[in-house]
Structures are given as C-alpha cells and as structure tokens.
C-alpha cells in the first residue's frame, strides 16, 4: 500500500488496491465450519483451546455452512459421509477453502484400502492445504491455518481460475459400481 505523499494531503488517507483491502478482510476472518468427524476433530478442538488459541487470529467456528469460509476435514471420510460432505461444501458460499487434516483426510490413512473409506478427501472436494500426521498436533493445524491465510492474501480478484471441482462423488459408491461386481 502506497501513500501518495504530498504535504497538502490529509495524513489519514491510505491508498491501496481493492484486492489488498478485500483480501485483508477475508484472510483475517476465516471462519471454519463446525464439522468434527473423527479423532482429528479432538485435536481440532484443542487448537481452539486456551493453550493454542486460534481465536486470536480471528477464526471462530460457525455452525452453518452458509456462514463458513473454511472447511476443516478432520478425520476419515467414508462413503456414507462423502455425499453429505460434498453437500456441505456445495452449501458454503464462495469464496471457500478446504483444509485436509490428518492422514485419513489426505489419503485414507491407516484405513486406506478398506471397503468403506474414501482414499483422500480430494476425491470429493478441492483441497487447499494438507496436514500430515495421525493426528496432527494442534500446532500443525494452526500452521496450516496461517498458510491458508497467506494463500488467501495473495488472491487476485480480477481474474480467477475456475476451481477444479473433483468428479461427481457417485463414483465413490460401493465396491462393484466400477465393474468388479461382488458375487453374492
């Protein structure tokens, strides 16, 4: 932000781009959706506890997807939940971001290859930040939130690449939908 300085101007005018202003507002009030799924959700709660205290960065949980900006996928997503998760994502207002927390959300974690587990939440929703760990420490989640904040602050409003939304989640139905039919 630059000050166009000549002495006649009032001192309290700051000039800058609209991008900067909007991005500053957005990145300083990232509101995650209250949606704890599994073990990682307990560490997600611990990120908002008085020790780590993510509140101080202006992040508060919102209970409805309409008011949330960030979805923290904190746990194993199975095929039954996948449709609901995608619907929640669709209900969130643009712009929206997704943090994939923990090995399970990244690629299935210890439950990879199981019949009911989605191997990575990026098959359902586009992910901005991945956090490794099982479960990641609260500090790791905090770092991810700060990384996301930087990412938001770099956004340009004029041109936005259309987001790549992953394929429809119907392909994630049960085993057997992809040709290898279970015989019963």
């Amino acid at each position: 932000m630059g000050l166009l300085g000549s002495d006649e101007r009032p001192r309290d005018i700051i000039l800058g781009t609209l991008d900067d202003l909007i991005n500053m507002a957005r990145s300083r009030s990232m509101w995650p959706l209250t949606f704890g799924i599994a073990c990682c959700a307990i560490e997600m709660m611990a990120t908002w506890d008085p020790k780590i205290d993510a509140d101080r960065f202006g992040m508060f949980f919102r209970n409805t997807p309409r008011q949330a900006d960030v979805m923290i996928v904190s746990g194993t997503v199975n095929k039954k939940l996948a449709k609901r998760l995608r619907r929640l994502y669709d209900q969130m207002a643009e712009p929206k971001w997704v943090i994939s927390m923990g090995a399970c959300a990244n690629q299935g974690g210890p439950f990879r290859q199981g019949y009911s587990v989605v191997e990575g939440v990026d098959k359902i929703v586009p992910v901005d930040v991945y956090i490794p760990g099982c479960p990641p420490r609260p500090e790791a989640l905090l770092q991810a939130l700060l990384l996301l904040r930087d990412k938001i602050a770099d956004r340009e409003l004029r041109y936005q690449k259309p987001r790549e939304i992953p394929a429809d989640y119907d392909v994630l139905a049960e085993p057997g939908k992809d040709g290898r039919l279970p015989v019963l």
């Binding site: 799924i37 039954k80 479960p135």
Partner: protein, 375 residues
C-alpha cells in the same frame, strides 16, 4: 432417500419431521437423528449411525496382532490407551503371557489418566452444548497437562499405541511420577471450580434434573454400561466385577445414583473423576520407581486357535473385545463390543416424550464417541 425410515403418518398434519445431523454442533461427531416433533415434544426418534464406519473389524483381520493395537487406539479416540487394553488382555490370556506387577501398575495409571482426560473432554463439550463456553476453556487446559504427561513417556498425545503384550512398550519418563503427582494436586483444586461451574450451576439444574430418566431395569435390558448404568442405580463396574491389571491392589468406590436422570449422569461422572484421582494417588505411591516394564512375550505373536472375550471399564462403560484366533499371526476375527454403541441404543427411549431442546442435554449426558460406535 430410503435411509429416512421415518415416514410421515398419513393424515397427521400436526407432526413435523426434523433431521438433526450428521453435521450438527451438538451431536459430538457424526450422529444423525431423525425426529418427529409435535410442537416442542419429540414423538419419534430414529438414530442413524455409520457415518464414521472405517472397517476396523475387516482391516484388523488383515493385520498382525501387534499392528491391531494401533487400530484399537482409534476407536474411542478420546480415551487413548484404554481401548488397547481389552485386546492386549485377551491375547495375553490366550498365550499365557505373564505381566510384571510394575507394568500392570503403569498400565493402570495411564488408564486412569485417560479417564480423567476423557471426562474432561466430556465436561467441556457437554457444557458447550448447554450453552456455557468457559468450562471448555478450563477443561481443555487441564487435558493438555495430561496429554503432556503421556507424551513425555509414550511419544504421542492422543493415540499413543503404548500398551503391548506383556506390559508397556517403553519405560516411563523419569519425571512421570512427579508430573502425575503435581497434576493431581492441580486437579484437586480444579475440581472445586468444576463443581461450581457445572454441578452447582442453576442453568445446569434447570436443564438436567428430571430430564431423560432411565429406569434401572430398562438400562440393564438395553445393555447400557458405564456411568449411564451407574446413574440408574446399578453398581456394575468391570473394574470391580472382573478386576484386571492393578485394580485389585487399589481402593476405590463405585459411585451410583438412584435417579437415572441427566443430572445423575453428570454427577456420576464427577464422582468418577474423584475416584480416578484417588486411584492415581495410591498408584503414584505403590508403583516401584524402577523395575521391568515388560514381561517375556514371544517375538512372533501367534495365539493358539481359540477365542477369548475380555472387557475393561473404559470412560464410557464396558469395552470388550472378542478375539478369535486360528493359530496364525493374524487374528481370524476381532469383534469389538462398544460401550458407547450400546449406550446410544437408548436414544429413542430417552428422546421420546422429551422436549426438543432437552434432547441435546440428554445426548451429551450419554457422551457418545463415534469412532467406537461406528468402528
């Protein structure tokens, strides 16, 4: 969708059908309940679970015995090592492994530390559901202290994968006993605050006393266990009924309440925390500071063909496991008996007739954890 299963009754216009969950701030995870409402009264309730089904039982058949321990951790993720114990005990029984006395005491100490941690999480989230924010801030602070103690020894905070066949994986950190004693001093002071914040709060009284009454007979027939059963006046506790590890060596009581309402369940959990502190105090004194932490276990765990059911009293009730072995190094079948799974079955019983807003208080008094319910 066919999972709805709560069809509107033809000709009834006074009943409204409301869906709660799986994304709901007060369902402690991914529970979905479909409710029929008549005004504010709940007329029907159908719980739906399975949104966190992670094929535990199938994947454990494809893992070797030591690997399974890591999976059991992830069931009741709020209470860490407590889940490992039934499986470890069952396999030890099948193989006839002797556990040194010191290892048993260390295991019991971790067990009770996690009971405190779990009840602290329960207290914070239950009060959050009732609209109070500050207890959450206090309880999570205390929980962090417990997790710090665990982390120093086991290397992980929540899911430490610490027990093993014949004892524990590694010796405790030199500071462990001192840290625990310090924490107990702190916790005893804190319990006074918690009593003020929770048990003596008029808001809690108004929202819990006389709400969701569960009778003794109904509780037993429904297979309910843990604090929920004891709040209905049944003094059944696996720690006393079928003692394991170091519980025969310590003195403690089983708090029960005859009321069976939501407040009684709150109260019983509080008394359990006092008992945990008492057990830990005794164990800090009793446990030898040095000695073996692990007994002799075979390098390859191959229990003989057969089956064994063992249960422990975890923070939510009787957590059991049925291990079936066919003589190979992988279990043939591992069936978990989830305490929270059984406890959640009484949701329709307790919800019907209650007010809609009370359903939140009732649900939080059951303290469900979905990793273990859906497995």
């Amino acid at each position: 969708m066919s999972t709805m299963s709560l069809e509107p009754v033809r000709g009834r216009t006074d009943e409204m059908i409301v869906n709660m969950g799986p994304q709901h701030p007060a369902t402690h995870g991914v529970l979905r309940v479909v409710l029929g409402l008549e005004g504010e009264r709940i007329t029907r309730a159908v719980p739906h679970i399975g949104y966190l089904h992670r094929n535990h039982e199938k994947i454990e058949e494809a893992r070797s015995y030591p690997q399974v321990i890591a999976y059991t951790d992830r069931m009741d993720y709020v209470s860490g090592t407590q889940n490992e114990l039934p499986f470890v005990l069952a396999v030890e029984d099948m193989l006839g492994i002797e556990v040194p006395d010191r290892a048993k005491k260390i295991r019991t100490m971790f067990f009770e530390l996690y009971r405190l941690a779990s009840h602290l999480v329960w207290m914070g989230t239950a009060m959050l559901d009732l609209g109070a924010i500050s207890p959450f801030l206090y309880t999570f602070w205390d929980r962090e202290i417990i997790l710090g103690i665990v982390e120093k020894t086991a290397g992980a905070r929540m899911l430490p994968n610490y027990y093993t066949f014949g004892g524990v994986r590694r010796d405790v950190h030199p500071d462990f006993f001192k840290d625990t004693a310090d924490f107990l001093d702190h916790m005893e002071r804190r319990m006074v605050d918690y009593e003020h914040l929770v048990l003596e709060s008029p808001v809690v009284h108004a929202r819990t006393i006389g709400v969701g009454v569960l009778s003794k007979e109904r509780a037993i027939a429904r297979g309910v266990s843990g604090p929920v059963l004891r709040a209905s006046g049944v003094a059944y506790d696996v720690r006393k009924a079928f003692p394991y590890d170091a519980y025969p060596d310590v003195e403690f009581e089983i708090p029960t309440s005859p009321d069976g309402d939501t407040y009684a369940r709150f109260w019983v959990r509080f008394q359990e925390m006092y008992q945990s502190i008492r057990i830990l105090r005794q164990l800090v004194e009793l446990t030898p500071k040095t000695g073996p932490h692990k007994g002799k276990a075979p390098a390859r765990i191959k229990p003989p063909a057969g089956e064994r059911y063992r249960a422990v009293e975890n923070s939510r009730g009787e957590l059991g496991v049925l291990v079936v072995s066919d003589g190979t190094d992988k279990p043939y079948r591992v069936k978990h008996r989830g305490a929270a799974f059984s406890n959640l079955q009484i949701v329709p019983d307790l919800f019907v007739g209650a007010k809609f807003s009370d359903s939140i208080a009732i649900l939080s008094s059951l303290d469900p954890v979905f990793g273990e319910i859906d497995r």
